[in-house]
Assembly symmetry: C2
Homo-oligomer: 137 residues x 2
DNA sequence: ATAATATGTTTACATGTGTAGTCGTTTTCG
DNA sequence: CGAAAACGACTACACATGTAAACATATTAT
């Protein structure tokens, strides 16, 4: 269950491309929004060693591509993710499968199987997973 | 957990990163090697509209990163793919799964299921596929 | 021998991306 | 009030990537 109704056009706008570095910022905003630049800077300085201007640049670029929205809060800004993580993951997945496997999942699984990238456990888990899926009606 | 024997070191050297444009060149060489630049230029001019220097630049860059090998043939070169397609696909796949899904396949399948990206037929095919796989011993 | 042709090399340039220094303000603390 | 701190904007720069013009040289056809 997901779209259909939603007259409010809650759809994410055209697939936003998030770069590697930007992804780190988005993860924080997906984890919790809104946040101040201060928080984000502090966290990324710790986990990636980035300087404040670096993080601010990323935030600016993300805002420019409307992946995050900014809201004035006094003299500063509150940053909020404006695209859903799952939508971004979906887009990355789509383009990856397209480029590598003609868009389908089966060839990827087949490839991994041939490369012995799947353990017996992986296979069992995948089967279980597939058994629980409700195909789109 | 995987290398072991293989004294012949048939391993592809450190994962070569093939860019989008370069991929088009590699596909041709994987399809058939060796080839002359002339052939490659002709084909890519047709299917991508690229000018000769563009294709030559790509060949040069690929040679620089040892993804293709060149062999003098008279005054010109014969170009041959020097990395296996499946190895490149494997690397792309690995890095993609890493970045998006923590390296595992299950979360990807789960994601696609949630996004209704899998039809009943897809699911059936995947199950069939998994049934035929021999897990790595 | 000359002119035309084919080849590879050099150089070039715009855009994207990762990273960060510096600036100009504003806010806050002493 | 004046100095320090916080904040966002602007500027910068190197490297990657897509794309190609120019160039030098070798080869071939006339």
């Amino acid at each position: 269950m997901s779209k259909k109704s939603a007259k409010k056009a809650r759809d994410q706008r055209p697939p936003v491309a998030i770069t590697e570095a930007e992804w780190a910022v988005m993860e924080l905003l997906w984890e919790s929004s809104p946040r101040t630049s201060q928080e984000i800077v502090a966290l990324l300085e710790k986990e990636r060693g980035w300087k404040r201007p670096t993080v601010l640049t990323l935030l600016t670029r993300l805002a420019a591509k409307a992946a995050v929205s900014t809201e004035p809060q006094g003299n500063r800004f509150l940053y909020t993710s404006a695209v859903e993580r799952s939508a971004c993951v979906a887009e990355e997945t789509r383009s990856f499968l397209e480029r590598m496997f003609g868009g389908a999942l089966q060839p990827l699984v087949a490839h991994m199987a041939e490369h012995h990238s799947l353990t017996k456990k992986d296979i069992a888990e995948l089967k279980a997973l597939l058994d629980d899926i409700q195909p789109k009606p």
